[in-house]
């Protein structure tokens, strides 16, 4: 069985593939260099820390999305799911404050992890048991989660209890040896993700299912289970991102996480994971998330682009990065 799995792994000639794998990091380096040339403030410690910390949300969710995309799936519901998990978490924490005090924070975080994983499980089961395209299922749940958060907030905003605000704030704004907590959490999640993907049997099955689900099925892999599990991992990652998100602004609104799914999918694809599945690149995803955030940052720091055209330049840079990637990996 295991030999069959290894056979479907996309193991091509080592040297050439390495350039392709390095592409997202090279692209990131180029954009960072551009940023430095455009504005001297870009390289200031404060700015760099801000940008890296901010990219944590997309990076953390992206690690989960890498699994889903690698199995050949797609999850459009992640932005709304984040908002929904954030909403549930805030409600749970606010309800627990009177009885638990500051302990409401870890308990609320635990609730978030459970809710997030269950949301992912729901997506996965509908897709695999119901045999419906992931695009359609997650488009449906995207609307459902978004409506729930709008309902929970009455269209306004849902704030965390004031007594928890100060205790919880350091999770986003605090640091350990100068490294902000969200960055540490991203690293832990990415390491875990990379370990599962590259070092475990499940990880090998993920890419096997993604590159050819029929071959994987004939080799005895339970394709449905592997796919469902990928969505559970996605849901878990969304919950981890939610735990980092709440301390930043302390509130959920109906626009929380709006269109993040597109940013996440972009980060995953720029990072070198194939959208049709079969090839996954966890650290590339992290680099992709950083790239998106750095591009946005450079746009604001440079005075060259009119505020009306910022989005066009961002779009162009992403396409150029992808073309460069294709160019380097095809030779």
């Amino acid at each position: 069985m295991s030999s069959a799995e290894i056979a479907v792994l996309p193991e091509r000639e080592g040297f050439k593939i390495r350039w392709g794998d390095l592409a997202p990091f090279i692209a990131l380096a180029v954009i960072v260099l551009l940023g430095t040339l455009i504005n001297s403030n870009f390289m200031s410690a404060n700015n760099i820390l801000n940008v890296i910390t901010r990219s944590a949300f997309i990076a953390i969710i992206g690690v989960g999305a890498t699994f889903v995309v690698a199995t050949g799936g797609l999850d459009l519901s992640i932005g709304s799911m984040l908002a929904f998990v954030v909403g549930i978490m805030i409600l749970a924490m606010n309800a627990l404050v009177p009885s638990l005090g500051a302990w409401a924070i870890p308990v609320g975080a635990l609730v978030a992890l459970v809710v997030g994983s269950l949301c992912g499980l729901m997506n996965g089961l509908i897709i695999t048991v119901g045999r419906i395209e992931p695009f359609i299922v997650t488009l449906g749940t995207m609307g459902i989660f978004r409506a729930f958060i709008t309902y929970m907030t009455d269209g306004g905003s849902l704030s965390i209890d004031r007594s928890l605000r100060t205790a919880y704030r350091p999770v986003y704004f605090g640091d350990l040896f100068g490294i902000p907590f969200p960055v540490l959490i991203t690293l832990v999640i990415a390491f875990l993700g990379a370990f599962i993907l590259y070092r475990t049997k499940y990880g090998r099955r993920v890419t096997a299912v993604g590159s050819n689900s029929d071959v994987a099925r004939f080799s005895g892999v339970h394709v449905g289970r592997v796919r469902t599990m990928a969505f559970v991992i996605q849901g878990f990652c969304v919950a981890v991102a939610a735990i980092c998100y709440v301390p930043r602004l302390g509130a959920a609104t109906p626009t929380t996480g709006q269109l993040w799914e597109l940013q996440v999918i972009t980060a995953v694809v720029i990072g070198g994971t194939l959208l049709r599945g079969g090839k996954a690149h966890i650290w590339g995803t992290v680099a992709g998330a950083l790239m998106l955030e750095v591009i946005a940052n450079v746009m604001v720091l440079s005075d060259m682009v009119s505020e009306y055209l910022v989005a066009a330049v961002q779009g162009a840079i992403i396409i150029i990065a992808m073309l460069a990637h294709r160019f380097t990996s095809s030779r």
């Binding site: 504005n39 907030t153 009455d154 269209g155 306004g156 905003s157 609104t253 505020e307």
Partner: protein, 321 residues
């Protein structure tokens, strides 16, 4: 849908109380039907609009038993056009109170409704053909920008460096910025930068962090909406930038009014562009039918500064916004 059901439940309760014989009495008891078509609660301000429309519905139906109010929300311009068609197909509308999603797309459909003799009240965003409406109720976006700017010019002594956060590219945003710039341009205050943050707290936080990284000295910030202001304040606090004397918003969001009431030094004022204008419009429309008070014309709500002294008048603790 849900709101309509609630409206019906309320209404039938009133009918039962009045006549004790159920639905046939309906039509006789309710002489006038006023439909309210508003955007769904997709962000803070529209959330406030929905809240105030529902409150006004309850109050008006209680005050005037012969008026039936139907509130219908729509999540896009196309959905609003459909809901207008549904409303006029299933009801005999005496009046329509509408906050159009966009001016251009809704003008035709509203004209259609008006051709049946329905009294049209337009709120906030004007139609491209003002002759369709009987009553127009709106806030003053130019004044929102201008009044904030006047206050800022005075407090900064006519000089300094400021940054501005814009909302979503729309007429509303353009007008606020226009009003603001017209006043600022006459002083020696320099606008360092002005970018879109889409009336979104997260994006405002991010943009403000970038402003702070780029400009070592900023005297004041103006986010043209209070939702964005909350993100801005978080970024400024994190960076510990003490030199920023004023951080102002606009719209009169509950949390910001609370800050104004508490005498916050950095955010001592706000300017109202209140979602409750839908309630003003609904009351005026009801008066047209229930009272002997002709209401045709244009009514522009002023945008006076909200200060600690008058903040109570703008504070609605029950509202989501």
């Amino acid at each position: 849908m849900k709101i309509r059901m609630r409206g019906l439940a309320l209404l039938s309760a009133a009918v039962v109380a009045g006549t004790l014989c159920g639905s046939p009495a309906f039509a006789q008891d309710k002489e006038f039907t006023i439909a309210v078509s508003i955007p769904a609660a997709t962000h803070g301000w529209t959330g406030g609009v929905v809240y105030h429309a529902q409150e006004a519905e309850k109050q008006i139906e209680a005050a005037y038993p012969n008026i039936d109010v139907i509130v219908s929300t729509a999540s896009s311009a196309t959905a609003q056009v459909s809901s207008l068609e549904d409303l006029s197909a299933t009801n005999e509308l005496d009046a329509l109170v509408i906050l159009p999603f966009t001016s251009e797309e809704l003008t035709g459909p509203v004209e259609q409704v008006a051709s049946n003799g329905t009294f049209i009240t337009v709120v906030d965003r004007g139609l491209t053909d003002p002759s369709i409406q009987d009553l127009y109720v709106a806030g003053d976006n130019i004044a929102v920008g201008a009044n904030t700017a006047k206050w800022l010019v005075e407090k900064l002594g006519g000089k300094g460096e400021i940054v501005v956060l814009r909302g979503i590219p729309t007429v509303i945003d353009d007008e606020r910025i226009q009003g603001f710039k017209e006043v600022i341009d006459q002083s020696d205050i320099k606008i360092l930068d002005m970018q879109y943050a889409n009336w979104n707290q997260d994006e405002a936080f991010t943009l403000m962090q970038d402003y702070l990284a780029q400009y070592p000295h900023i005297d004041a910030v103006w986010a043209n909406d209070d939702d964005m202001l909350l993100g801005v304040l978080e970024a400024v606090d994190q960076a510990g930038r003490e030199e920023i004397k004023y951080a102002l918003g606009g719209n009169g969001m509950k949390q910001v009014i609370e800050m104004v009431k508490a005498g916050d030094e950095r955010t001592p004022i706000s300017t109202p562009y209140p979602p409750s204008m839908i309630a003003s419009a609904l009351y005026m429309t009801a008066a047209q039918f229930a009272g002997q008070a002709p209401m045709r014309g244009s009514f522009k709500l002023d945008a006076p500064l909200i200060t600690p002294e008058n903040a109570d008048q703008f504070y609605f603790p029950g509202s989501p916004f």
